[in-house]
Structure formats: structure tokens, C-alpha cells
Subunit: 262 residues, 2 copies
Amino acid sequence: MPPISSGVLGALDPTSDRAVFRQIADQLREAIDKGRFKEGDKLPSESELVEHYGVSRMTVRNSLSLLQTEGLVVSEHGRGVYVRPRPPVRRLASDRFARRHREQGKSAFIVEADAAGSRPEVDSLEVREERPTQDIAARLGSPRRVLARRRRYLLDNRPVEFAVSYLPLDIARGTPIAEPNPGPGGIYARLEELGHRLDHFDEEIRARMPSPDEIKTLRLAAGVPVIHLIRTAHDTTGRAVEVCDTVMAADAYVLAYQLPAT
Amino acid sequence: MPPISSGVLGALDPTSDRAVFRQIADQLREAIDKGRFKEGDKLPSESELVEHYGVSRMTVRNSLSLLQTEGLVVSEHGRGVYVRPRPPVRRLASDRFARRHREQGKSAFIVEADAAGSRPEVDSLEVREERPTQDIAARLGSPRRVLARRRRYLLDNRPVEFAVSYLPLDIARGTPIAEPNPGPGGIYARLEELGHRLDHFDEEIRARMPSPDEIKTLRLAAGVPVIHLIRTAHDTTGRAVEVCDTVMAADAYVLAYQLPAT
DNA sequence: CAGTGGTCTAGACCACTGC
DNA sequence: CAGTGGTCTAGACCACTGT
């Protein structure tokens, strides 16, 4: 029997057509938007809301679940429901694959995270040969088998991105690209050393809700979509030499591009 | 008392730790993934699922609501729950603002939709002067007031995008840009005629769940995120001459970009 | 241990759809 | 009209968190 919750919440309008659980969600949403509950703040508990509004617990839970699917709050079992904290965002600039960024030793991800004051990490490294999916094969000019490089990126212990690079075997087999650590400048530097001078990258961007698998590997909260990015690297002969399939936690990224006006 | 639902669904595992409503959602998800329920197909009704699994209705509804937040199904009041149809996708190419595309009469949106065989439409046109938000002002070099052009784009009667363009008043006031229909080639063509030769565009891309407002104006189904795109147009003097703030239904778009390797 | 959210039941009444 | 999903109640037991 905790006391009535704080005075930021109003009363229900019984004459309204709007469902009770939506009205409750509206009031909580407004309180969050106006900063009366701030990032990381704990919302009133379910029992407090039940008491405050005089409704059943399922109705309150319905409201909270709505806010969760909107990405506004996260619930933590045994602790409470909290306003979802906005994690630091990683900005991907349009010049991020410029050749000059490949000259140095460390990978772009590490360099950039260090500069931003976050602790970067790469895990789940896996390199193997496999049969490409139809889509990947089409993008790479239909090789029968490809080298696949899988890895997960983390910032301050939080997974933010999962990426798989595919390369035709005739390019990658027996080269440093097939090693877990391809060396300074990453696989793009190695590709150029092997004579595949890079010309440009094509990127395709989609956004959607994550699959249960993606929720697990990226430890995504409810209401967080993913950005799905497919990049194809082309060399100066026009050949597609790599396809990188990336799934990113959407709340951790801003992508930036520059378009020519001509 | 309808008959037991079709044979595509299995039984529950009472020894499993996994919650019953998750097991039911898993089976439905798998059936959808494997194509046993196809796009637009009707799922078994709630009462059929209640009967099939021997659980209460709330448990079944919990499963279905899970699938809805994942974007896999949509429910229609009084009709049933359906596998969410994948609408035709609009592809935004990286050369979409090239000058040559501005020479013709119609707007890029109309031309492109016609070519793709869809019926394009633009509505909710509104042009007015207003005070910019802090963010917009910062991007435009802190003008005190701006011209705002709002419009909504539809394909085959479905809203897919809502966009607002902001321009400094000293550029736009009293020009065709301040008219509801700015004429052939759109406002970018007018800007160039007014002496603001365009140099490049910067685009910032985010993805997130929609606000209740956005759900309404874009008529979004549950489980569909939005792509938020902010484009800044720069003229050859380096001045930001327009900011366009766009919210797109994520299931209706693929964005394509080209990055230089140099 | 008390308090929190997670799961589940067994009802009820309503609003919408289609025949 | 029967069948569908939408809302709501009033309980119950469980699992997790903190002290």
C-alpha cells in the first residue's frame, strides 16, 4: 500500500471514447515528453497506477506495454518501469571509407570510439567459407562459394552492430583477408594491396523491427527498430569485390551521407 | 464452435521454461516464415487458437500482440488477424537530386511513381512563415523566421511520407517558392533560378518507432518503424539554403547511396 | 523479506465486419 | 445475425530485485 503516486498524473475522462488504457498511456507519455519524468527515471509502479486510476492491473499493464512498443520506456523485472535512456549515438560519416582513413593501423571502429570516449570491442569473430544466399550471390556476380567474416561490435559493453562481410573465394582465399585479424586498415586495405583498387561503395538502407535472433544478439529493448545496411564495394574495373550485410541497433546510430547536386 | 484450426500448428511443451504465449507466438512465427501462412493470409481466429492450445483467450491475445509488435501481422477489428502484406517499396537513388532530373516539368515523386506503375498523390499542402525550432535554426544559420512547406506523399492512396521544407525568409519570401505549387523542377529548380546554385546535400538518417501523431498521418500498422531523414541543401557559397525534415514509413522505402572510396 | 514486474485464468460486455 | 477482435475486471501464482 504505497502512497498515491506523484502529482504529475491527472484523472481519467469517463465521457471520452478513448479507451482507458490509452488515456493512461497518453498521460504518461505527456509527462515523459514534458520532462516531468526524465531519462532513466522510474515511473510509478503498476500497483500505484492501479490505485491512482482505480482500474484493474491488466489495464495498467496494457498502457505500459503500449509505451514500451513505442520505445518510450523499458521495464525491468523486479525493479520497475523506467524512461528509456538515450544511449550515446554513433555517427557514420559519408567519408568513412575514404582511403586516407585506411592508412593508420587500427580499425575505423576502434579509432572513432576511442575519440568519442567510449570503450570499443569486437567479438563473435568468425571467418569461414560457405555457400552464399541468392541475394548475396547476385550482388557478387554469382560465385558458388564465398568467404564470410562475421563480427559483433560493442560500445561500453553494449552490442550496437552485427556485420557479415562476403567476398568471392578467388579473391580472399589464402590471403590475410581469410585471417581473423586482417591487419591494419582492415580488409579494404588488403583488397587494394591485392590489386583490387576500390572505386566506390553502394549502400542500401532499410529499417524494420528486429527478429527474435537480432533482439538477442544486440540485446535490444522493446520498441527499438534496427537499421539494415547492405554495402557493396566495387573496384575500378566495376567488379563487386565485397558485400557487407549489417544490422544496427537504430537507437545507437545516425547515418550521414553527402549527395552531389550535379 | 469452429473446427480445430489447420494442421500447421503443433502442441505446447509443458516442460519448457518458455512462457506459453511465447511458444504460441514461436509456432505462428515459424509458420509464417516457412510460408505456411502467406502474405495477406488470415491466421486462425483467437477462439480457434484458444481451442487448439487449450489456453485462455488473454494468453492467445498476448501471443498475437507480440507478433504485431514484431511487424509480422496486423489485426483488423471484426475481420481477423492477417499476415502483414509487404507493400511495394520506393527506392530513393543516390542521384535523385542530380540537376538533370530537375529539367523536366513534373516533380520527381510523380515521375518516378508513374514509372513504377503506382498512382502518386500529394496532399496536406501547407505553406506558411514561422519561427524555426532550435535545431532547424542551427542548420540554417539562425534565421529568426523561416518559410515552412509541409506536404504528405501517397502511393496508391497509401500515405508513405510526410515532409517539411524550411527556407530562410530572405531567400524564399515573395518568390515562387512561397507558392503552393512552385512550378516545374520544384523548389530546387527555383533556388537555382534565384541565383543559389546548389553544390551538395547533406542527409542524416535515423530510425525509430513513430509517435502517435505519425501513426495517424502515415496510417502506420503496429510494428512499422519510421525512417527520419533530415536533408540540408548547400549552395556553392557554402550557405545552407534549405532544410527538409522527412518522416517515411519504413516498410515503404529503401534508401540508396553511393560513397566514394577516395 | 516486501515490492516489483511476468504469466495466466475465466469470465464479461462492447464494436466492428460480413452475410 | 454470428463471428471477429477490443476492452476490462478480479483474482492467482510465479520470478526477480533489493534490503
